[in-house]
Symmetry: C2
Subunit: 327 residues, 2 copies
Amino acid sequence: VAEFDLISRIRLRQLQRGRRPAAGEAWIGDDSAVATIAEGPLLITTDAVVEGVHFDLELVGLDDVGWKAMAASLSDIAAMGGRPTHSLVTVIGPPGNFDIDSLYDGLEDAAETYDSPIIGGDLSVGPVLVVSVTVVGSGAGVPGASWFTGGSRGGAEAPVLRSGASAGDILFVTGALGSSAAGLEMLRSGRSAEEPDLASAHRRPRPLLAEGATARFAGASAMTDVSDGLAVDLRHLAESSRVGIVVDQVPVAPGVSRSAKDPEAAALGGGEDYELIFSAPDPERIESAFVAAGLRRPIRIGRCTDDPEERRLAGGAMPHLGWEHEW
Amino acid sequence: VAEFDLISRIRLRQLQRGRRPAAGEAWIGDDSAVATIAEGPLLITTDAVVEGVHFDLELVGLDDVGWKAMAASLSDIAAMGGRPTHSLVTVIGPPGNFDIDSLYDGLEDAAETYDSPIIGGDLSVGPVLVVSVTVVGSGAGVPGASWFTGGSRGGAEAPVLRSGASAGDILFVTGALGSSAAGLEMLRSGRSAEEPDLASAHRRPRPLLAEGATARFAGASAMTDVSDGLAVDLRHLAESSRVGIVVDQVPVAPGVSRSAKDPEAAALGGGEDYELIFSAPDPERIESAFVAAGLRRPIRIGRCTDDPEERRLAGGAMPHLGWEHEW
């Protein structure tokens, strides 16, 4: 298959799905994509997944790889309390027969579900499959959410950074953890049918965009997503904010307790759950905003302290768990 | 080296170079970068280079790889007549000792030269080096260039697409071609010292941002850059615009005529020259705008015709030359 035929196929798929550029926009097929975005701060994030490093095609489908690559970048927009508007996809594919359609099925399903059409990208050959997704988003106010804005410390106009937590802020996580790591364990041992929700959490994670926007407009002071593991992601939030962290409990997803070899390690260090962790000075306001928005009530897991070296878990030291590349 | 240490090093390098986020911006180190851009259309483009496919580290330095990866994406913004504002860099690096500093020397040199600071990205391990650069740009009017705007057919507010050429438009190229391909030939045969300008054109191409903006504001109807080769890039412009193409002459760079085995093949099919090709209904207006801006006068190479199948070169058929990935 030749490059420009593939690009034509990707464009055709888009037309078949009824996705068309807005007035003044130019999508796939020019030197650069042209997008129109709302006024206000622009969010932009990019994330790459590499075959043999981030995924194993013996365990997941190409469509799952596409979905998850898109979902991971969308989750970074969620972790700012932003709204995605457009995405770009770069695919580096190994020589030989390459099922671009399966990959794009997953990419487009996620892009459409979260309203972030694919407007550009790049294609190249290479030794292993690499999928890199860039998502552009609006950091301006989320329509309909302005009733949350009263009294926010950070100002609802600003995206929520990792660096805004203060001593005394309460720490939340949007849901119980460990499903993705436990799901991978089940897939590897051929037991995924026993806990289909876990395998599904690993293959098709959901970016928590409504939760991120709700936390932002209810006064979250700092936020990030659980991509590398709760322990390491909390450490990043604490370091950026120069606060200490005291965690009283780590919520472990029910299926994880039943099936994982080490449920707490899966919840603390597994990563890729894409739940959001955030700090907030007014926890009641957070909880009532989530209830009012019809979302799962977030879980209080601890608090921020004024000793920037402090990292505690249930009375002991926070273990060094989580995902980090090493060269 | 661990991932988060590398990220810290990249941030530190940026501080040492005196690059800092503007008010309301957040650069490297959060889930998503926060940028502020001018109103008007947003341009966004992404391009990846892969070791063994796009470059050979026996022939070029890591700093050259960084420069060229950044320059190639900046050139896509130039080909819209836009102005770059921010960039994101994803590096997938092979395990083992990896000279991230050399790579970033080149990336940052290009980013600073063309005022497109690196505000985010991603790092991963992988089997070969991959550098993927996303550039965001403003498609709004270029400050100081508004004196070009009178009478433009496309409207100076709109970026220049590939699809705007009409029959009768004159075709231009901003400079003579073939230097990059001839430079690679010299590097491969160990003769690069004989023609240092050619090797330099291959290793350190320049994105023609001033030329792109000038062409746009002087009424260019369609534009693209010579990345895959003049023949194939002209074909893309013609197909997008549904016009025929008649080329009278292909300007070959002087060093190319002296040294390349097949100078016309280098100029027509070599690619990576990053000269701009564009069409315009009023060629005198284009030429006087380039002269007024102190730029090299662009070269008239042919014209667009009303037969969308027509592809001619100097009385014969346009040869099928140029770069395209095959799977």
